[in-house]
Amino acid sequence: MTLQDLLPARGFQYNFAFIDEGAKREVRRALLKAVALPGHQVPFASPELPIARGWGTGGLQVTMSLIGPNDVLKIIDQGCDGSVNAVNLRKLLVATTGVRTTFDSREATLMQSRHRLPEIPMTEGQIAVLQVPLPEPLRLVEPSEVETRRMHAEGDYARMWVSLYEDVVQNGSVSLSWGYPCRVNDSYIMSPSPLPRWDLHMLHQAEHLTLLGAGREKRVYAVPPHTSVRPLEFDDLPFTVENFAGLSCVRCGSTDTFLDEIYDEETGKSFRVCSDSGYCDLVREGKIRVRSAAHA
């Protein structure tokens, strides 16, 4: 099989993985710098793509810069391979690379995701690429880019902590839900992308590499393997995850996964299903041993 075989037969002759080699090199250079400075946002030029800004162009450019013909690709959105946007991105990548795809997270070498990490922890040799709308965690307290850059440079994070303090005073606990700010490598504060709290522990001391791409904001950043990622928490108010106590997935019975809240189209009744559709399928097909379940 040659590169020529992988390209579409007619219409535009796109480069392998769509963007040109020069653009790929620029992204990879930025990624190397990002890996060398865990949690630090590295600017890159982010050219336009046929996909709208805000719809995953950052993650896509990272994936396009790394993907090779032998990669196995998984793309999910909200944890699901079938989500309309994931389907669309997969179409574009397969059309421009011809790579093999999978729904089983264990098989993927490259996994691009919007807002979730797979329930099965990723391992060495796998790369997670997360789509990021707003890379700047300090935007919560400061609108100016010039000022947030200075705050990171000087380790001046007091205002961020003060907003958490005020949150606890007003609400009894930190009410931040998704995209919870984390301290990476005891250094920079980073936004983990809009992941639920549920997923954050999987970034901490992980075996895999996590790359985060924000196309519209033109930044990439990274969490290398074996790096500490700690959500900002007060010493006496430990960080908690979403509470699914007493709930289970109606499809596979799992009681220890992040569960989507679904409303039946006909009856209007609510029930729960694993957000990670790939994991749910594997449990149902008996391909993996479930960690804990409501029924065998």
């Binding site: 440079a153 000087e154 380790g155 001046d156 007091a158 205002r159 902590w161 003060v162 303090y165 005020e166 606890v168 005073v169 928490e233 007060f234 010493d235 006496d236 108010l237």
Partner: protein, 279 residues
């Protein structure tokens, strides 16, 4: 530093605004009665300020507006970058000049060793967060991340500056000027800094409120023994608080000594003017 009781030492601190020329030095100062160089328009806000501050001592800086007293304190607190001179803190950076340090280190020194109270509460407080949060910010800067402890300490500090507990979660803008100054004081004391800087802290307040705030400051200093630098144009305030005093005019020190001595027997004509016009 040689003398172990010296906490802070300043050597030839200068601050200018403008292009500077050869004539600035000779054509500005207390003799010429101006800060502005007639040739190049440079403002010489401070020139050759040197002093030593001992542990537990209160140093007064007195002079009219334009004398450079606020500028000096802003240079010490790193709000401004001095143009010339060196500053030393005991136990800091192995006796190195702290003015040359990168901002990130200056920030840490400031958080650990200094507290500042500004004349205008808008400069020292953030109006978009509660009083408690204003104090908490100082604690968080010093890496205190225990919520209950932050709460307790903030409450304790606000109580020590006589702010009712109910106002801990109130925003500064609903409180009076006197209360806002007290929050600033509480915030300045948060990390038990060895040095507290007070820049015209009572100048904007009613006379009766002034007296109470000054009493509070005196009491807190007696209890905790920190060093202070007190800036005022009011000789009465200086007399009340300061052990030693520097008299500034047009950016230079024209007289220095024990406050009592200056009050009793001022030497420089300008000091005489100040002392004799004190109510």
């Amino acid at each position: 530093m040689h003398d172990e009781t010296v906490l802070v030492a300043a050597r030839n601190i200068g601050k200018t605004w403008g292009p500077e020329c050869e004539e600035c030095r000779v054509r500005t100062g207390p003799e010429q009665g101006t800060n502005i160089c007639p040739r190049c328009g440079t403002v010489v806000a401070l020139r050759d300020i040197s002093f030593e501050l001992h542990e537990g001592e209160i140093l007064g800086l007195v002079g009219e507006s334009g004398s450079g007293k606020s500028t000096l304190v802003q240079c010490i607190y790193f709000d401004l970058d001095a143009t010339d001179g060196r500053l030393f803190f005991r136990g800091c950076e192995d006796g190195e000049n702290v003015m040359e340090l990168p901002r990130i280190q200056k920030r840490r020194i400031r958080g650990r060793l200094m507290g500042m109270v500004y004349q205008n509460p808008l400069c020292g407080l953030r109006m978009d967060i509660t009083s408690g949060a204003n104090v908490a910010e100082k604690l968080l800067e010093a890496d205190v991340f225990h919520f209950a402890r932050i709460r307790a300490r903030a409450g304790e500090l606000l109580a020590s500056t006589e702010i009712p507990a109910a106002y801990m979660d109130a925003f500064p803008r609903v409180l009076s000027g006197g209360m806002q100054q007290r929050i600033q004081i509480a915030k300045a004391l948060a990390n038990n800094p060895p040095l507290v800087l007070l820049d015209e802290v009572t100048s904007g307040l009613d006379v009766s409120v002034q007296a109470r705030v000054l009493d509070l400051i005196r009491e807190l200093q007696r209890e905790r023994g920190m060093s202070m630098i007190v800036v005022s144009h009011d000789m009465g305030v200086i007399r009340l608080l300061a052990d030693r005093t520097l008299v500034l005019k047009n950016g230079c020190v024209v007289e220095r000594g024990l406050t009592d001595q200056i009050l009793e027997d001022p030497q420089h004509p300008y000091s005489q003017l100040l002392v004799h016009s004190t109510l």
